[in-house]
């Protein structure tokens, strides 16, 4: 009977490795989903909802009905441009009417005056009142006519979560209650109105709603998500998600290495039994069936335990992160993470174990019984390597959302997996041949590492890969954090000053200089509208991209600059030559959207004037740097005589607010935009994301410890035999002790060295090509790698193999 065949002796090691793999996948999938959901939700504050439906016509009631049926919260906003009178002059404003549910995510802030403390509020104005943009602070406590109704204005709207769009293109906001909107009579047929339906709820509710919603949408109805919200946030969130994916894969690689090592160990333990059974005439097929069944049992047990651990591990994380995130991690009730984890466990177990099993079953029994070690044949090598590649590829395909990242990761892993053992082998061989005068102790140690039967190269490569993965996570994590901190340094300007008349610029510059307030260069702003591209009217061009249509139908600011602004980069053409010839420098995104190229002639209208110039350069702009950035920059001569106001930014500390009051009273036409709150929010999200990055680092560390223990465990048998032989050859305990300590130290040193080299190279590749961030060479990585690998391996190895010293030399006679 097949079931009476002996069970896998060392199956528990393999079981632990598989449990860890499944735990990592289920926990990381679950945690990633929960953190991702929280980050999305926090980012959702920038939308004031989880999902927004935007239209230029009133939205059908069916959307709201369906959303409510699915348990979603719903809010309405309506916004459009209108004019109010300020000192008898018309002032264009962005009027926004909101219902009592708004905002669904985040909150509003208001204050009594520009420099007063801000108050958090849960909903917008009551009926009969409006809140004013701080730019309209002079109208506070007055009655303001909007269409045919009058409203009281006692509050300034200081923070509005979903105030999207470029910071410098905003007309002042007025917020009112939606119930008051009909009485104004401002919306008439043909009005350009933006109707928004905001939704918020659990992930599964939103997913069902989106699935239902998409086929229902008409041409002018669009779903808005984070991609369309603040560009400042997009990159950081995108990079965080990519890092999560990378960290999970690297951590998983470590866990799979552990399975591979334990599979090899199990195969070596089973080889004598298999040889004996085959000698007794049991067929290969029957043995294969038996061991496959054993592996299936290992998988089922590991899946149950691993999924349980994965499920439980979210609670300590939740406890650890709750304080940092300021709110609880949202719950995710889905089965997918567990199914994915079980599948990854199955693929890993089958992919790494079956080839070893196949080889053991194929090995002639006499070779095993007589302890004759045959050299690895090419066929066996190809089988092991091929199955490992396919296994890793399958796991990457199961887990990764980014196919480019998956393929590149596989290639990098392959290169490392191929190069590492080769370099180790070459290094050991060259050291072996460096001195033949003495054998003990250095040459003896090297010969142990060089022995093919011992598989030290395999173990060293495996542990190097684990350490390398850890170091890479550390390198990329540090580079990401550095990159984010560089983008949002503490000393970037927090106030923007608009509408500075030309004749007040130098006075304001002097004002800042006297008070030692750091301010930027003053940029002139000329309000323009793009009318023609190469003589073709832009309204007649059929743009498929809605952003292109936006450029074609809206006004925007053109500025001029002598020098290329900071963090702008010329991608095509040459920066403006100040030779009197009209020239334009266009932002890359705008150029791509409008399909512009060098040499295209653009015509702008500025009031009754027109301006025409060729595109001479295309610039990339770092929009998330919170500095004045422009779509179009031209040379001074072209716009010097056109009507213009000026823009400046300044870093105003809390104790300088009184100076600000003085500035506002001296220059009443200047408007202030305070972005302190917005920056604090973005810094907060980046900070919380970095905590999550650290969490994955800990996961990777735990996995590496398992690889370490598995590596030491797998070599234990050989080490025992070597110690028994040395004992029989009259070695003293101190000599046995030295052999083991030095062997682990030497392995640790070599592993640390190669992990540091490859972590530096691969860290640079990943930082530069996947995350588009600057790579910073870190000597600390080398120090950590060498010291940690040497000390951890020496201490753990010596502790785990301490019983080797007490081994009876009789063991050598029993083999």
């Amino acid at each position: 009977m097949v079931s009476r065949l002996p069970k896998i002796q060392s199956y528990w090691l393999m079981l632990i490795a598989t449990v860890i793999t499944i735990s990592i996948v289920s926990a990381s999938q679950l945690i990633t989903q929960r953190i991702s959901l929280l980050l999305d939700r926090q980012a959702s504050e920038l939308l004031a909802a989880d999902l927004v439906l935007v239209s230029n016509h009133p939205l059908d009631k069916k959307y709201e009905r369906q959303a409510k049926e699915l348990g979603l919260q719903v809010a309405h906003t309506v916004s459009f441009r209108t004019a109010i009178f300020v000192d008898d002059s018309p002032q264009l404003v962005e009027l926004k009417a909101v219902d009592s549910n708004y905002p669904l995510r985040g909150q509003l802030k208001n204050s009594r005056e520009v420099t007063a403390d801000q108050i958090n509020v849960q909903q917008g104005p009551e009926t009969g009142e409006i809140w004013l943009d701080p730019k309209l602070s002079q109208l506070i406590d007055s009655s303001i006519a909007l269409g045919s109704s009058e409203f009281e204005a006692h509050w300034l709207l200081t923070y509005e979560p979903d105030r999207g769009g470029a910071l410098f293109n905003l007309a002042p906001r007025i917020l009112m209650n939606l119930d008051d909107l009909p009485s104004t009579g401002l919306i008439v047929p043909g009005s350009r109105v933006n109707y928004r339906l905001l939704f918020a709820g659990e992930q599964n509710q939103l997913a069902s709603f989106i699935q239902w919603l998409k086929p229902q949408l008409s041409e002018n109805e669009k779903i808005q998500d984070l991609e369309n919200a603040r560009p400042e946030m997009r990159r950081a969130l995108d990079q965080t998600r990519k890092f999560f994916a990378l960290a999970i894969v690297l951590t998983l690689v470590i866990a799979m290495v552990a399975i591979a090592i334990t599979a090899r160990y199990t195969a070596s333990c089973e080889a004598p039994k298999v040889a004996m059974l085959r000698a007794f005439g049991i067929s290969q097929k029957r043995l294969f069936k038996f061991y496959s069944w054993q592996l299936a049992k290992v998988w089922v047990i590991a899946a149950v335990i691993g999924i349980g651990i994965g499920w439980l591990s979210q609670y300590p994380l939740q406890w650890a992160l709750d304080g940092w995130f300021g709110q609880a991690l949202p719950q995710v009730w889905v089965i997918r993470p567990y199914l994915v984890a079980a599948l990854v466990g199955f693929v890993s177990l089958a992919g790494f174990c079956l080839p070893f099993l196949f080889i053991v079953i194929q090995t002639p029994p006499m070779q095993v019984i007589r302890h004759v070690s045959s050299r690895q044949s090419l066929r066996r090598g190809l089988l092991l390597a091929g199955s490992a590649i396919i296994t890793v590829f399958l796991v990457l395909m199961i887990l990764m959302q980014d196919s480019m990242l998956a393929v590149m990761t596989l290639l990098l892993l392959l290169i490392v997996a191929l190069v590492l053992p080769l370099i180790f082998a070459l290094m050991i061989k060259s050291l072996l041949y460096s001195s033949k005068r003495n054998f003990w102790l250095r040459q003896y140690l090297l010969s142990r590492l060089n022995s093919s039967t011992r598989g030290a190269l395999f173990v060293m490569s495996a542990f190097s890969l684990a350490l390398l993965a850890i170091l890479m996570i550390a390198v990329v994590k540090d580079d990401l954090l550095t990159s984010w901190r560089t983008q949002l340094p503490d000393d970037i300007p927090n106030y923007f000053l608009f509408n500075i008349p030309s004749d007040e610029v130098s006075e304001i510059e002097r004002f800042f200089e006297q008070r030692q307030i750091r301010s930027s260069t003053a940029y002139p702003l000329v309000r323009t509208r793009l009318t023609h591209i190469n003589g073709n009217i832009v309204n007649a061009i059929d743009f498929t991209d809605h952003r292109a249509t936006h450029f074609a139908t809206h006004t925007f600011n053109v500025s001029y600059a002598e020098n290329l602004p900071d963090e702008n980069k010329i991608e095509a053409g040459e920066w403006l030559q100040h030779n009197g010839e009209p020239q334009l420098s266009i932002e890359q995104g705008m150029a791509n959207t409008l399909l512009l190229k060098i040499g295209d002639i653009l015509t702008f209208s500025i009031g009754s004037e027109t301006m025409e110039a060729p595109v001479t350069s295309i610039r990339s702009v770092l929009w998330e740097n919170f500095r004045p950035n422009f779509y179009v920059i031209t040379n001074r001569k072209l716009i010097a005589d056109l009507p213009q106001t000026w823009l400046m930014s300044a870093l105003i500390k809390s104790d300088q607010i009184s100076d600000l009051k003085q500035l506002v009273s001296n220059h009443p036409s200047v408007t202030l935009l305070d972005i302190t709150e917005l920056m604090a929010r973005i810094r907060g999200i980046v900070g919380r994301a970095s905590i999550a990055l650290e969490f994955f680092f800990i996961f990777a560390l735990v996995s590496a410890i398992v690889v370490l223990l598995a590596s030491i465990q797998t070599g234990k048998k050989e080490r025992q035999m070597e110690s028994a032989l040395l004992r029989a050859l009259s070695a003293r305990t101190s000599q046995l002790y030295r052999v083991n300590v030095f062997e682990f130290s030497l392995m640790g040193l070599l592993i640390g060295l190669f992990a540091a080299i490859f972590a530096s190279i691969l860290g640079w590749i990943i930082s530069a090509y996947f995350f588009n961030i600057d790579y910073h060479f870190s000597p600390a990585i080398w120090v950590y790698s060498l010291i940690s690998a040497t000390s951890i391996l020496t201490i753990a190895g010596t502790l785990v193999s301490r019983k080797v010293y007490n081994i009876s030399p009789m063991k050598i006679l029993r083999t």
């Binding site: 040459q443 093919s452 032989l725 009259s730 009876s808 030399p809 006679l813 083999t815």
Partner: protein, 227 residues
Amino acid sequence: MTENNFCISLQDVTKSVDTPDGPLDVVQNISLNVDYREAIVIKGASGSGKTTLLGLMAGLDQISAGEIILLGESLSDRTEEQRSRIRAGKVGFVFQSFQLVQGATALQNVMLPLELGGMENVLEVANISLQQVGLESKKNTLVDHLSGGEQQRVSIARAFAVKPLILFADEPTGNLDAKTGRQVADIMFRLRDQSGTTLVLVTHESELAQRGDRQILIESGRLIDQS
């Protein structure tokens, strides 16, 4: 030091091991003396306890009762470390499965016990030893790449390199074909004759057993016959 004229002396030696059914005597009350320069062969069926007896005589394992005196030193109540010191430089081994250091050359394997014992002229002595077994040309070959017969010859060279007073050989031809086995045995006995080393040989091969000065037959852990 215990005064004794024998190279090895065993008095009522018993070795017990724990089994699920209780203690089992794998060697029972064996008394035996081995003279210097004598070649003694221990014979017996598989599982009779002959290898255990060899291990006890060499001090590779602790006896449960009785006394063993090896080269004038009692092995009773000695730690593994102390027994190892008694063996150092005086005892050589040849094992059935060779037990060479894989990944090392033939020369390095022979150098190993010499260096462990802190001897001088290690390289010279190891070279001579390999010459004596006819493997000088393969001294720099990794033992992993040598045939079974060659590996056993390296093992013999390693054993004789320390100029042992006693050589313990456990089934030295057990893993070799008949022809190679004879060649290896010839080398071992030639070197033993030249050096006058005492030999304790475990084998189940009659032809090899005939070459000893005395044969001991073991059955179920008991000494049955001496001839």
